[in-house]
């Protein structure tokens, strides 16, 4: 049987890096094929070639045996390829129907389109009202918009790029039902992910990429997650070590913290209570868009809270700004590396001054001590193995992983009493991620308290003592992580948002 899609010897190089090196793979009609690999392995570039965003330097592609070389996404869509990106291309202020119309070639009139949207969403178990404003939707619902947009164009091959990073476990199961139905109808699915257990559940075949090359193929159901992981990374993985510490007194307490959302499409915080004990790592899980940024801003001091809601060692710090909190020892590292945690066009020295002024003595009566900031930056670079020519380099010149190491290292070296981090290893390569996690654990072991907000449940299960879930601005009751099951976690994270199982 001729494969639906056949890639032979695809190669693509950019200055300084070979993104794809002689990659070949076949996908049969109706097959669910996983594309596995670390960040930087070349998965994105490969699918961009299939989708017509990038032209290969060498090699060729065939669809149903005929040559296939789309020059732009439009051509790929016309050939029957649909793609749901990891980062959605949605317009918050427009309706669902308008968003879908924009993603289609020959969009029908809005009224007809609305009808078709309703039909497709019912058939595949993805309920969506066409006239809702996209900005009001949850992350899972927004993904539905993207999927329906693709389905309306009758794709033969559906490419999904890290689809479950924004879903609760229950929503993941429902998505899988939808994908299985599509597969049964003959639509092939190219599933990009690094979530090994999911791939083992869903996929028929897997191709593993490392550093641009195909390093293995396997049948996920017959391979262990550990074997797949080791093929992805190329070495035996070590797990971070954590000496269990009995937690001490309550250091930071949130009591009925409620704050309105700072922006039109943000999430308000509702009645959040937690107590963070000395020496513990508290993990807060939840899919993006449920209040993570807002919670970090409330803890860092960017958003102030009314009296009595945020206390540190008995002292009310709700009304204090970021620098006053830093002086007390409450530090934070936001999710967005470039633009929030660090100023992209400023040097590492200046970025060290950004948050280190208070605790590292870099400022005296308003005047800044640049030589001291320079040496602080150098210390961070040394201690955290940040690959950069020097502290004079702009933050934007660093790779994602190195910048993240700098940003986290900057806070860790300031000897915090409480450190709050948001998505500490997002988009970071495996070894840098392991180093960051170890640094957080070491910090806790030294007596500090850490709050880790993360979408990566595996990460939280690995390093957190207690776990709570953030859902629609509400925080669940923290539970000890040992012994928590996936079902329990899913329920804590709020279950599915109004989804039904696909109508077969």
């Amino acid at each position: 049987m001729t494969p639906l899609l056949s890639l032979r010897g695809l190669t693509k190089a950019y200055p300084g890096v070979v993104a794809n090196d002689n990659v070949s793979l076949d996908i049969a009609p109706g097959e669910v094929h996983a594309l596995l690999g670390e960040n930087g392995a070349g998965k994105s570039t490969l699918v961009k070639m299939i989708y017509g965003l990038v032209k290969p330097d060498q090699g060729d592609m065939q669809m149903h045996g005929a040559a296939f070389a789309p020059s732009e996404p439009r051509a790929a869509r016309a050939a029957g390829v649909g793609m749901v990106f990891q980062h959605f291309s949605l317009f918050d202020a427009l309706t669902v129907a308008e968003n879908i119309a924009l993603g289609m070639e020959n969009a029908p009139r809005l009224r007809d389109l609305a009808q078709r949207i309703r039909e497709v969403s019912d058939t595949y178990g993805l309920p969506l009202a066409p006239d809702r404003i996209v900005g009001d939707l949850s992350a899972g619902e927004r993904q539905r918009v993207e999927i329906i947009r693709c389905l309306l164009q009758d794709p033969k091959l559906l490419i999904m790029d890290e689809p479950t990073s924004v879903l609760t476990p229950q929503e993941v199961e429902i998505l899988f039902e939808t994908l299985r139905k599509l597969s049964a109808e003959g639509t092939a699915i190219l599933y990009i992910s690094h979530k090994l257990e999911e791939i083992r559940t869903l996929c028929d075949a897997a191709t593993i990429l490392r550093l641009g090359k195909v390093v293995g193929e396997c049948i996920p159901r017959e391979t262990t997650a550990r074997d797949m992981a080791e093929m992805m990374v190329g070495k035996v993985l070590g797990t971070p070590t954590r000496a269990g510490v009995a937690p001490g007194e309550t250091v930071l307490a949130l009591q009925n913290l409620s704050l309105p959302s700072p922006s039109a499409f943000g999430m308000p915080l509702r009645d959040i209570s937690l107590d963070l004990r000395q020496g513990e790592v508290l993990g807060i899980g939840g899919v993006a868009g449920n209040g993570q940024d807002e919670l970090l801003a409330a803890l860092s001091g960017e958003t102030t809270a009314p009296a009595g809601m945020v206390t540190f060692k008995g002292q009310d710090i709700g009304t204090l700004g970021p620098n006053a909190r830093r002086a007390l020892g409450v530090l934070a590292a936001p999710e967005e590396r470039l633009g929030h945690a660090a100023a992209p066009d400023m040097s590492l020295t200046e970025n060290a001054m950004l948050t280190g002024a208070a605790r590292e003595g870099l400022e005296r009566r308003g005047f800044l001590d640049w030589p001291a900031a320079h040496s602080f930056a150098e210390r961070i670079i040394q201690a955290f193995d940040v690959r950069t020519p020097g502290p004079g380099n702009a933050a934007r010149s660093l790779s994602g992983g190195n910048l993240q190491k700098f940003v986290i290292g900057r806070e860790v070296l300031q000897r915090p009493e409480v450190l709050v981090v948001n998505q500490p290893t997002w988009g970071v390569d495996a070894s840098a991620a392991a180093a960051i996690r170890q640094a957080l654990l070491d910090l806790a072991e030294g007596g500090a308290s850490v709050i880790v907000i993360s979408q990566d449940l595996d990460e939280l299960m690995e390093i957190a003592d207690r776990f709570a879930a953030l859902n629609e601005g509400r925080l669940s009751e923290p539970q000890p992580t040992g012994g928590l099951s996936v079902e329990q976690i899913g329920l804590m994270m709020g279950g599915a948002h109004g989804m039904e199982v696909a109508h077969v």
Binding site: E72, F88, S89, L94
Partner: protein
């Protein structure tokens, strides 16, 4: 002081005329801003349109040709702005200011030989007996064609933005240029076209002042009306019909203060002359609350980086 000389019917008719230049410029700028671009060069484009329109009208004897020339002139100048902001990725605020300064200078230069000349008159549209109906006649049926064009323009822009695909695409580009680019839409091309449309409208607005309102050419004759148009877009919350309302309001105040001056009201001339600007500020403040209506990418530079 004799308030009886102020005739409300004539006042209304006059305010519609006073509002037209702002209306034209503001409607054009509304389209530009809905596409996500802030063009502060409206004043420069208007004054350039004023001189282009005037000069061509005088040379050819046809005010209509003058208006077309004004539209072209405004569009060409706006092309410079498009080059700066869409290709050279320059800061939009600075580029708009540069445009204004350049436009003011260029228009003064071009207008050297045209001071004191009378331009050819543009006759009012002949509605026949309709113009004789009391009250409604002078207000609705006694104007020049460009005034009616202004109102039609507002309607056309409203309909296009709301109902057509091109309108949807323009709004999408203004909301989230990265997403629009990812979907394959040519952001730079769409924005450049929008900018040129805005330039053409502003040019015509300027020509209205030099060919119909005054009608004469003087250096700097737009006197800040371009800035008022910019303010108008903001306090109309980027909605076309509100631009019409705002323009009439501003036109009304401008006309009223002129009439009050003429009526010998006891307020010094300078304070009356200030009033339109102060009222603009007040309205801006009151309506600042509706910030959420601003297009998401307004003012942000777009560079397809991946």
């Amino acid at each position: 002081m004799d308030l009886s000389v102020i005739n409300p019917i004539l006042l209304t008719a006059a305010l519609m005329s006073a509002a037209t230049p702002i209306l034209l410029a503001a409607t054009g700028e509304l389209v530009v801003e809905r596409a996500g671009v802030l063009n502060l060069g409206v004043e420069g484009m208007m004054i350039l349109g004023a001189i282009c329109g005037f000069a061509i009208a005088v040379e050819t004897g046809s005010p209509l040709t003058g208006f077309l020339a004004a539209a072209v002139g405004g569009a060409v100048l706006s092309l410079l702005f498009a080059l700066l902001t869409q290709v050279a990725l320059a800061n939009q605020v600075a580029s708009g200011l540069a445009l204004t300064l350049f436009g003011l200078g260029l228009s003064a230069l071009l207008g050297q030989g045209y001071v004191g000349i009378k331009p050819p008159r543009m006759p009012d549209v002949n509605f026949g007996f309709l113009a004789d109906i009391p009250i409604i006649g002078p207000i609705l049926f006694s104007h020049d064609p460009v005034l009616y064009l202004g109102v039609l323009l507002v309607a056309a822009v409203w309909a296009t933005l709301k109902f057509t695909r091109i309108g949807l695409i323009l709004r999408a580009v203004g909301e989230n240029h990265d997403a629009a680019h990812a979907l394959g839409y040519k952001v730079v091309r769409i924005r450049t076209l929008a900018i040129m449309f805005g330039g053409a409208c502003a040019g015509m607005g300027g020509a209205y002042i030099s060919l119909i309102r005054v009608p004469q050419w003087t250096e700097g004759m737009t006197a800040g009306v371009g800035w008022i148009a910019l303010a108008l877009v903001v306090f109309a919350s980027w909605k076309p019909w509100r631009v019409l309302l705002g323009a009439y309001l501003f036109g009304g105040i401008t006309q009223l203060q002129l009439n009050l001056q003429g009526a010998g009201v006891a307020i010094p001339v300078e304070y009356l002359a200030m009033s339109p600007y102060i009222i603009t500020i007040v309205v801006l403040v009151i309506l600042s609350a509706d910030k959420s209506a601003a297009p998401g990418s307004l003012g942000r530079t777009f560079h397809a980086s991946h």
